[in-house]
Symmetry: C2
Amino acid sequence: METKELLLMIPGPTNVPPRIMKAMFKPMINHRDEEFRALYKNILENLRYAFQTKNDVFPLTCSGTGGVEFAIGNLISRGDKVIVPVNGLFSERLKEEIIRFGGVPIEIRSEWGSACSVEDVKTVLENEKDVKAIALVYNETSTGTTLRSLPEIGKLAKKYDVLLIVDAISVLLGDYLPVDEWGVDVCIAGSQKCFACPPGLAMVSVSEKAYEVAEKNRFRPFYHDLLAWREFKGRLETPFTPVLPLYYALDEALKVLKEEGLENRVQRHRVCAQAFYMAFEEMGLDTVAHGDLRSNTVIVPWLPTNVDDRRFRENLKKKYGVVVAGGGGKLKGKTFRIGSMGTVSKSEVLRTIRGILGSLTDTGYNLDIKPDEIESKVEKVFSGFKFYQFY
Amino acid sequence: METKELLLMIPGPTNVPPRIMKAMFKPMINHRDEEFRALYKNILENLRYAFQTKNDVFPLTCSGTGGVEFAIGNLISRGDKVIVPVNGLFSERLKEEIIRFGGVPIEIRSEWGSACSVEDVKTVLENEKDVKAIALVYNETSTGTTLRSLPEIGKLAKKYDVLLIVDAISVLLGDYLPVDEWGVDVCIAGSQKCFACPPGLAMVSVSEKAYEVAEKNRFRPFYHDLLAWREFKGRLETPFTPVLPLYYALDEALKVLKEEGLENRVQRHRVCAQAFYMAFEEMGLDTVAHGDLRSNTVIVPWLPTNVDDRRFRENLKKKYGVVVAGGGGKLKGKTFRIGSMGTVSKSEVLRTIRGILGSLTDTGYNLDIKPDEIESKVEKVFSGFKFYQFY
């Protein structure tokens, strides 16, 4: 590494372990040649493992939002009704994406930090005719809220024969999400989140039902044409030149995932999140989401009212070497966001908590509890947990 | 490099010099933070130099075709008439892209290897009402043909007040293309061509006129929303998470470009192409394009009729370590394609020619001239030319 590395604890990109960085450092190859086909074959197989699906999963050269555009652009045509639970910035963005393609969003609004229930969705499905799809953000990165009714919504989608499109960008591998078991037609993930890769790829799974819908849409995007991806898959090629360094990195990241094991990866994220939630409780900082809705990957505490967001985060970065993200939208200045994902483990969690404790104290917050006490409680959360060695 | 490096002489990706590869090996950063802003500022400034423009040039996370989609998706609405010269696979693709967004292409067809004249375009502009844009592929990668009437078409576009959209993916920096001087509203380039970067970025320049058209289009793409790119540029950020390793690589590649100088880079590509054309003439192999229309970056010779394409290219790769591309579309099996771009210099050209001579002979072609004679003639083409040292 050329510059002193900060601990990135934002909701993507994450720090990337050297093993995955080094994988990028391979010569360019012809993407219409056998070397590429071997690489692509591995990636396609291992992505199925990551998504727990028998469906196709494509690694698209774009950001996570590009992956959402791929889903909506292929599946939603002008006039199509789409149910969208909205409870934060990214679900607002999903709604906007639907509108851009001429879809008609039927919003189910919840408070930020809250999430809709399966009954809310059922009511809409019973009252509205010709709903084409349910599109939802599984893990709201702006509020750290996970839409826990997803498996039940999956059953409804099947019963009412509507498509289920799930933005799982900031959570796949960081929480349980068995795509086939839960009946998710299209699931979108991002390379720079729990995969611990650099940004540049959206991975999208596609069910047979989704293919059938796309076949009827003559205004599919061209760069993001789902049917072209299916066609080229037959010869183990991509329709257009892929971002090769990221394919190399993803290939390595998927090997790492299989070594660690999917269950272990999810459990690691869960334990780290628990440690954070416990620490914030001890510090007297409430989080935007509560109870079961709290995310495994994005932790969003409220800032003490007397602490200035900008000063707190700048000090945290400069003095403690830890980078967290600011609040988004109407939570700007009132919250901060921790991305606890990728290779996150006990040492990163402790370093982050130590830094936050320090920076909060530096910027005017009075703690009722001693830092050492918090740390020893946090240590206990990890007791007995075996961490995979990334480094 | 981990594996033995082949000499990639395909029309992208090119071999990437270690200096640019190494640039990717930097820690991840927060794309909403000051480190990113400094990087992005440099890239934006230096892209203006590469495009010879005062307009904005955006580095998009997608392939070249994604850059074309960005242009068409923002500027072409349903029912818009677009003049499209079609003379190969990539201009067919451009036409298809226009259709996907509901545009109405007015084709000007030319033989493959040929190109339309400025009079052809003028005739359409005089006979058709309400033409919205001219969209063209400047360098047809399937045939190795450059549309030399572009500067004159630029004048027409201005006179008739229509947008000029130019796909220069496989040629920018490899041939002269002063965006502002020639009145190009939107110019699209790709990272994996004459920039000598890995694939993963499309760079797109945008004129004021293009912004005005996009402002009237309410069905702009979301991921590829031109107006979002303009808005976020104000705070030196991108709308969505960019492919950071490629941004690092592009930043370095642009520094390399400035060191070499734009004029020198174009001239280097020109000299290398001349050497190839001369060598093929000596070998008795005709090219698909002729005279002035011949490309500086993609050379497409006809295969001798008794040589099998697959055997020829496999042998060239395995025995001589040189990778060239096969013919595309209706030229498949009848031609092969050389990408002479990126860091290409005398040694790459000579190694490629030597390999081709060898592999043609191995697979049944009888040369009338001795390889040494061709090589010494090729050497002369380079006489006195000073190459920038990439390695």
